[in-house]
């Protein structure tokens, strides 16, 4: 960092005013009118490096230019919120001086082009967002959507994405504890890979991106810079065409080993009084991290690009600025701490190089071998990024029609069909490839007797645990985006409650099609309104999030898929609630809803009747809150043995899932459990058994009288459905050793048979 500051005047004087064709602009993700704006802001033509920097920071991915107007309407505060949206991740107070730090982020486009690396680097990126803030990551979750199973690409995408998520998370040593996966043809050309990370920090030691201290060194740490990911942010902001393969070079390659070293080194350095500001190099790489730090500090930053460690010697300045090479961090250090920092990085065999310094003039100043490579006012890049009030079409008026089926339905075959369907079949094939146990704090384990609706992860050294879950039902959003947004929030809230946790806050990942289409903007507007209304009603604020638009291939957009990642707190992990039935003598009680048998947009209608029709179930925030608070109170009074929220597939699917989780035996004597439903229930009413009315939980209790009385007192509808019995006590024929589910019509099925049905679809599909 040698040469004197090149002034803007010098650049204008030495550069021939360049001109750029619309094609070049498009290559950088800029529209012609956006270029006009750049000319206006600079008062001159930018050089190519400057232009590229504008293109990256003004991309949808970095600027939220289409969605910001609506994101601003979301509730983001509560007494326990330490940091809402706008930093690397959201931060909430969990008591005793500790904070939970979390965020969800998409890697949809890269994962479609190169599923293994695309999904792996999605995990790496979200982990960096969390440990950048000073938190040790304790859990990973994901939300996946793939195309129709019969589509030619689906199988290889599932295999690659799952291997990539596992490959990264398993190596870095953060357990992958939860997630969800659905299939639908709308994702044929745009699969969704959303990754969420949760970390724990000292509440008074959160690290931010705000740069301060003129002259302080800007230090680059981590992997060397290569060409990978150049233009990644602009790729994430463009619709695909069938020739998307041309984008392959823009997909980054992950190195989870390097990430592990970075985590340990950064957390070690954070224990010293050394870091003023820190930011990971995510989308738009060095450009974005440098400008964000400078913008938040209201100062400028000078970067000597020739000091950046390179993987390939011939990288050009614009490529260095735009590279999305993974596992890199940028930090502003206290000058006196630089040697200490370098010693820590050397211990972990990491490159740490001073690549610049903070300057008073609020500009991004790039130097290249002693020459100026460009100077741009930070405000032009960040504050003046275009904000679009894109045209919003009137929503295609959602169907208000409930779907009613009057014909009697054979319940048992329908249950079998549902449990074997792609969306409801066991996802064991997926989660068995994730290390869910490292850290020895995973208190609920998929498929085990400890399994719960949300993953429950203990906070080391305390009695506390965090519950966390990801949720979205795109079938509802397709019919009514407002309900889609609102329902995703209430379902995630329910999953936390059903695990015994008090829901605290959420992060959202808004996956939509092309925002330049007014009908897509209408979906975004409605879904965000739904999220906001639900979050306000439940005191469940939004503390971080990510927007993924342009999920559109050859003009066809995905269903609106606003994924919600919820986080709740158990003050003592002994309060955790599992979903597994592990005792005989339990009464099964449905709490909540009058059960109208709402079949519109249900999995039953989709799978058994082959229709996507009608209106999705209405969402009633007051009812959600009322029944959720009842469940939490009953759990506090130790009245509940198990609990499961009733969602996709309805009541009978929820019941089957509870029975199939764990060993299916009475833990006291290892006898198989029967589930006997009460004969006076409607025996052949599809709406009753498979309707997806909201605000419902299925609980198992040894104290049915108290539960029913408490529900009556709280004004919550409750319905006794049946009992669990141990096989030997059920009066079964001699030698009977298997548990059975007996339905009101007298039909029954063994647990082994139902389990085989539930477990077979995905492995068989992946086998091809």
């Amino acid at each position: 960092m040698s040469k004197p500051v090149a002034t803007q005047a010098a650049i204008v004087a030495t550069d021939e005013a360049p001109t750029y064709s619309p094609q070049v602009l498009r290559g950088l993700g800029l529209k012609v009118d956006e270029y006009e704006r750049i000319l206006e802001l600079l008062g001159r033509a930018p050089n190519f490096t400057e232009l590229a920097v504008f293109g990256a920071l003004w991309s949808e991915h970095c600027s939220y230019k289409s969605s910001k107007k609506y994101l601003k309407t979301l509730p983001t505060s509560a007494p326990w919120v330490i940091q809402g949206p706008g930093e690397n991740a959201g931060v909430i107070d969990i008591g005793d001086g500790l904070a939970a730090v979390f965020k969800i982020e998409s890697h949809n486009h890269p994962s479609f082009i190169e599923p293994y690396q695309g999904s792996a680097t999605g995990v790496g990126g979200i982990l960096r967002d969390v440990f950048t803030m000073g938190a040790r990551p304790i859990a990973l979750l994901n939300a996946l959507r793939f195309g129709d199973p019969s589509h030619a690409k689906t199988r290889s995408l599932v295999a690659g994405v799952v291997a990539g998520i596992g490959g990264y998370g398993n190596c870095v040593g953060v357990p992958t504890v939860g997630g969800e996966c659905q299939f639908h043809a709308c994702y044929n050309g745009n699969n969704l890979v959303n990754a969420m990370a949760v970390g724990i920090a000292q509440a008074d030691k959160i690290f931010y991106a705000k740069a301060a201290g003129i002259g302080n060194p800007v230090v680059y740490v981590g992997a060397k810079t290569g060409r990978d990911g150049v233009h990644g942010a602009t790729m994430a902001s463009a619709a695909f065409s069938a020739s998307e393969q041309a984008s392959r070079p823009t997909v980054q390659v992950g190195d989870p080993f390097k990430e592990k070293l970075l985590i340990e080194a950064c957390l070690e350095l954070m224990n010293e009084d050394a870091i003023i500001a820190i930011q990971d190099m995510g989308a738009a790489g060095l450009t974005s991290s440098a400008c964000e730090m400078a913008s938040k500090g209201g100062i400028g930053i000078r970067l000597d690009l020739s000091a950046v460690p390179l993987r390939e010697a011939d990288l050009q300045p614009y490529e260095i600025m735009l590279s999305e090479s993974q596992e890199r961090m940028l930090m502003v250090l206290k000058p006196e701490a630089t040697a200490k920092a370098q010693a820590i990085f050397a211990k972990w065999d990491l490159d740490a190089v001073v690549v610049g310094s903070l300057i008073a003039e609020p500009v991004l100043e790039m130097q290249w071998h002693g020459e100026s490579a460009g100077v741009i006012p930070i405000a032009a890049l960040v504050d003046e990024a275009p904000q679009y009030d894109r045209p919003v079409a009137a929503l295609a008026s959602p169907s208000q029609q409930p779907v009613t089926l009057t014909k009697p339905v054979a319940i048992l075959p329908a249950l079998q069909q549902l449990l074997a369907s792609p969306n409801l079949a066991s996802k064991r094939w997926i989660w068995q490839q994730y290390d869910r146990h490292v850290g020895v704090n995973s208190l609920s384990d998929s498929g085990a007797a400890t399994a719960s609706d949300a993953a429950v992860v203990r906070v080391t050294g305390t009695r506390k645990a965090l519950a966390m879950a990801t949720d979205c039902n795109p079938f509802y959003g397709a019919a009514d985006p407002y309900i889609g947004g609102a329902q995703a929030v209430v379902e995630s809230w329910r999953n936390l409650v059903a695990s015994g946790a008090k829901p605290l806050a959420l992060t959202n990942n808004l996956n939509f099609g092309n925002p330049e289409k007014p009908e897509i903007m209408a979906q975004i507007k409605a879904a965000v309104t739904g999220i906001g209304d639900a979050a306000r009603a439940l005191d469940y604020p939004v503390v971080s999030g990510n927007v993924s638009l342009y999920n559109d291939t050859d003009g066809v957009g995905i269903y609106p898929t606003p994924v919600i990642g919820g986080v709740g707190l158990l003050a003592d992990y002994s309060q955790r609630l599992s979903m597994a039935l592990t005792q005989s003598g339990l009464s099964l009680v449905q709490l909540g809803s009058s059960c109208d048998g709402w079949l519109g947009r249900s999995q039953y209608l989709l799978t058994v009747e082959g229709q996507e029709a009608g209106a999705p179930p209405p969402v009633d925030f007051a009812a959600e809150r009322q029944v959720g608070e009842l469940v939490l109170a009953l759990n506090q009074q130790q009245r509940l043995a198990a609990c499961h929220d009733i969602s996709d597939g309805g009541l009978l699917v929820a019941l089957a899932e509870m029975w199939l989780t764990g060993a299916g035996t009475d833990a006291a004597n290892a006898l198989p459990l029967n589930v006997q439903l009460t004969p006076d229930l409607p025996a052949s009413d599809a709406g009753f058994w498979f309707g997806e009315d909201q605000a419902r939980y299925l609980v198992a209790t040894l104290h049915p009288d108290q539960v029913l009385a408490a529900a009556a007192e709280a004004g919550v509808p409750a319905l006794l459905l049946g009992q669990t019995t141990a096989v030997a006590a059920a009066g079964g024929t001699a030698g009977e050793t298997v548990g059975k589910l007996t339905l009101p019509d007298g039909q029954s099925i063994t647990r082994a048979a139902l389990q085989t049905i539930h477990e077979s679809w995905l492995p068989a599909y992946m086998q091809g």
């Binding site: 398993n170 850290g439 020895v440 208190l443 007797a449």
Partner: protein
């Protein structure tokens, strides 16, 4: 009993092992850094933990086997010290020649994370002498746990009672369903399952405790 856990770059179960040994045995546990060329000969037990040492982009454990600390680990074994390799630690022990055989990619070519039932094949070793007379259930989490050994080697393992644990049903393609192997003097154990993940009732399984308690029985408090 004095114990230490080696930390390689990419180890990710080191803290879990330290915590597990501390909790179950009530002892202090030191950490040893991979760049050390020497450590105190007074350690009774040295543990190589799980993880992805040096990223394991080559054969798992191949680079760690040549890291600076390994010469001292070999001296520890030669002195008759107790040496436990868990998961990646087992891979490192075979790569370093401290245990026979090798570990390949799982038969299904996938990472597997689940509980497995294990039969205790040798109940007299320093690592297994306190195990109750029943099968164990322990979690596994690995991509390369497929134990390979030739017929002569297998015969030697069997003749010298060096097979510590076997999977009760095939899990990853391992020869003879081998899950854990002892050295000829029985003072070195490598195993793919993670005992340190099963020492705490809060996670629902404490079968791993008895392996640590066996060591305490052997070595003393």
């Amino acid at each position: 009993m004095r114990a230490a856990v080696v930390v390689f770059p990419g180890s990710n179960c080191d803290t879990d092992v330290v915590t597990g040994l501390q909790t179950v045995l009530g002892i202090a546990v030191d950490r040893l850094w991979h760049k050390q060329t020497h450590f105190d000969a007074a350690y009774d037990l040295v543990v190589l933990p799980g993880g992805f040492s040096y990223g394991d982009y080559l054969r798992c454990g191949a680079i760690a086997a040549h890291s600076p600390i390994m010469a001292e680990v070999k001296r520890h074994a030669e002195r008759g010290g107790y040496l436990l390799g868990i998961c990646n630690g087992f891979q490192i022990l075979t790569e370093a020649g401290l245990l026979p055989g090798g570990l390949r990619g799982n038969a299904g070519l996938q990472f597997i994370c689940r509980d497995v039932a294990l039969q205790v094949a040798n109940r007299n070793s320093p690592f297994t002498c306190a195990l109750p007379n029943a099968d164990l259930t322990l979690p596994i989490a690995h991509h390369d746990g497929n134990y390979l050994i030739d017929d002569d080697g297998l015969k030697r393992l069997q003749d010298q009672d060096q097979i510590a644990l076997t999977y009760t049903t095939p899990v990853n393609g391992s020869v003879a369903n081998i899950a854990g192997v002892l050295s000829a003097n029985k003072r070195v154990l490598g195993l793919m399952p993670h005992p340190e993940r099963a020492v705490d009732q809060a996670v629902g399984n404490t079968d791993g405790r008895e392996i640590f308690l066996s060591l305490q029985t052997t070595i003393g408090a």
